[in-house]
């Protein structure tokens, strides 16, 4: 607590203060109290009381004067230090060594700064114990930082679990923390806040599809089974960290895990709609019966390759691991043995064209 904070407290007493266990009211004499206990004092007594309980005063000042009560930013920053779960003295104790929470793949750490101000640090969850990180200060830099994953590939979906590592914001104000988080995971704080307030405006798939125009109009043709396959494809936790709150429509839930993410997904995103459009065109084809000659191991190998690609595992498969069906040498050998110009196992895709 510093002198301006104390003066602000005295000046605000007549409006009545009721905050995080601190209560002050009156116009001299004042009534001051900490949870349950209260007594009447003159101004000197009020100042004395504040000197004896400095953290209550600086806490009040930080939240009401620095952050400003109400709204998404306030609620989010309170959530970061678990203000709902702990009283002020417990919080101050925890904050003295740092309180960490994760938000998607972000790790946010709140610490006590000067005179009860909070300072926040932000980094990748996997970098929790990494001491060799590149430091940043400007929230705007976050846009460029998260554009590519650690393999250098462009990340079109901000909430894909491919957040790059190796960077940190060691010292952010509350306002800058929220801005930075919003550059990393846009609109997640706003939607999380709406959900907490019971006001999340979910737009389900059918309504979203109805709204589309141009080349995306056709996405309304997806059947519920296809929507489920598409959600399984794009929206589960291994692909996207938002918790899917939309379904086919208000009545019909999709039989797909919603995910455990901290922040909600309130409607199918543009990547989902683009994928859905492709799925509609794929679904227009009829299945056919093909005959392939493969050994049982080769059949399993084809399945292993599909699995490895679908799980994004191909990079992990060791160069010389010949026991892995999706190993590159194994795949090349399969191609050399079983693929001809006609395709897999010499079976043409369109036999009728061959006969012409």
């Amino acid at each position: 607590m510093n002198a301006p904070q104390l003066d602000a407290l005295v000046a605000s007493a007549s409006d009545g203060i009721e905050f995080d266990g601190l209560s002050v009211s009156g116009n001299g004499p004042y009534t001051v109290g900490i949870v349950g206990e209260s007594r009447a004092v003159e101004e000197a007594g009020l100042r004395e009381f504040a000197e004896a309980n400095p953290w209550l005063v600086s806490n009040w000042y930080y939240w009401t004067r620095v952050v400003g009560t109400g709204g998404a930013r306030y609620d989010f920053l309170r959530w970061v230090e678990r203000a709902d779960e702990r009283d002020v003295s417990e919080r101050y104790e925890a904050l003295s060594t740092g309180v960490s929470r994760s938000w998607g793949q972000l790790r946010i750490t709140a610490e006590l700064g000067e005179d009860g101000k909070r300072r926040y640090a932000l980094r990748h969850v996997d970098d929790a114990d990494n001491t060799d990180l590149e430091g940043y200060e400007d929230p705007l830099d976050a846009r460029g930082l998260v554009k590519y994953d650690d393999r250098g590939r462009y990340r079109p979906l901000s909430t894909a679990p491919t957040l790059p590592t190796g960077w940190e914001y060691p010292d952010l104000s509350g306002e800058d923390l929220v801005r930075t988080v919003d550059f990393v995971y846009p609109a997640t704080v706003a939607n999380w806040h709406r959900e907490r307030e019971g006001e999340l405006d979910v737009t389900h798939f059918r309504e979203t599809a109805e709204r589309q125009s141009g080349i995306y109009e056709i996405v309304s043709q997806l059947s519920v089974e296809e929507i489920e396959a598409a959600a399984e494809t794009c929206c589960v936790d291994s692909q996207c960290l938002k918790r899917r709150m939309w379904d086919e429509d208000e009545e019909i839930d999709l039989d797909v895990e919603r995910g455990d993410g901290e922040f909600p997904c309130r409607e199918p995103c543009s990547l989902f709609i683009t994928a859905a459009r492709k799925f509609v065109t794929l679904g227009r084809e009829e299945t056919r019966r093909y005959e392939f000659e493969l050994t049982p191991t080769e059949k399993e190998q084809v399945e292993e390759i599909i699995d490895a690609v679908a799980e994004g595992r191909t990079e992990e498969i060791r160069e010389a691991d010949m026991n892995e069906g999706a190993n590159r040498y194994r795949a090349r050998y399969l191609r050399a043995r079983r693929m001809t110009e006609e395709g897999l196992s010499g079976t043409p895709t369109y036999p009728e064209d061959q006969e012409l």
């Binding site: 709204g71 705007l140 846009r143 554009k147 590519y148 462009y154 079109p156 979906l157 901000s158 919003d182 846009p186 609109a187 704080v189 706003a190 939607n191 709406r194 405006d201 709204r211 125009s213 141009g214 309130r266 409607e267 995103c269 543009s270 990547l271 683009t274």
Partner: protein
């Protein structure tokens, strides 16, 4: 509080697509005239659908970083922003190049939204094209001997995109800054492939009226004009083609002066932009104002 939202197309595939939107937003942030400046995209995040809820301001100016009035600016963006009672007639742009702004509310937030016409059809865009030509040639005073080609998609993709190209070509021609000014297109006549046939000037500056560099501006157009057989090997600026020097500028949207166009759009819709240093509203340098 007032906010500026710059809305762009963005891309799931091309990481550079959002770069001009970010850099113009940063230029405007530096002026400090808006309490908040935010970018939003059709294909990236925050989406048009969710950007307004990320803002604290109650007055929001939305300016599309798009070239033409048409499908995206008249239909997709207002729909996705959930503008109440949007009707394109509010822009008062019967010729497809005169959009103003429309003020309404969005249904999911308690805010007043001023939805402005796209950057590309604002008069001051002519200045940006000229500035682009100046910066690529290094000549602030291109006089005799210089022709200017403004290049766009054709009508196939968006009926109004050709209008925007033509509009600026006419304005710059009237200004007399260049000996010759032509509008050329990628997929219709007169085609950019035959650029040298349309000019007599020994030097021709080619400026594509595109927001961001990408496949069209970096690969198609240079190859179509014969600057290179393979875009990957690059090309000289200028490159001599059929005895004429072609100065190819790349997308006009990356020119830093674009930020002024966005500011002008917002100012015309009522944003308070006092305090922007060195910024004078609508003062074209040498381009006929009508």
């Amino acid at each position: 509080m007032q906010a500026l939202v710059i809305v762009g197309h963005g891309s799931h595939l091309n990481p550079g697509s959002s770069t001009p939107t970010f850099s113009h937003a940063d230029t405007i942030r530096e002026t400090g005239v808006f309490d908040e400046v935010r970018e939003a995209f059709w294909k990236e995040e925050p989406s048009f659908r969710e950007v307004l809820r990320t803002l604290e301001s109650d007055e929001v100016y939305v300016v599309p970083l798009f070239i033409s009035e048409g499908y995206f600016t008249e239909r997709v963006i207002p729909r996705e922003l959930r503008l109440e009672g949007w009707d394109v007639s509010a822009w008062d742009s019967e010729d497809g190049v005169s959009a103003t702004y429309a003020t309404s509310r969005a249904t999911d937030v308690e805010k007043t939204v001023h939805y402005c016409g796209p950057a590309g059809t604002h008069d001051s865009m002519s200045d940006v094209i000229v500035r682009r030509a100046e910066s690529i040639t290094g000549e602030s005073d291109m006089g005799a001997g210089f022709g200017l080609a403004i290049v766009g998609h054709g009508t196939e993709r968006n009926e109004n995109s050709a209008k925007a190209i033509q509009y600026h070509a006419d304005r710059i021609r009237e200004s007399g800054r260049f000996d010759e000014v032509k509008a050329l297109f990628m997929d219709e006549e007169p085609e950019v492939d035959d650029v040298t046939e349309f000019f007599e000037s020994p030097d021709v500056v080619v400026v594509p009226l595109f927001v961001a560099d990408g496949f069209h501006t970096q690969e198609d157009i240079p190859e179509d004009m014969g600057l290179t057989d393979d875009y990957r090997t690059g090309y000289e600026i200028p490159t001599e083609v059929d005895g004429q020097r072609i100065w190819y500028s790349g997308a006009v949207g990356t020119e830093s002066l674009m930020a002024d166009v966005l500011l002008e759009r917002a100012a015309e819709a009522g944003a308070d932009v006092r305090g922007v240093d060195d910024w004078t509203q609508s003062e074209p340098e040498g381009v006929a104002d009508d």
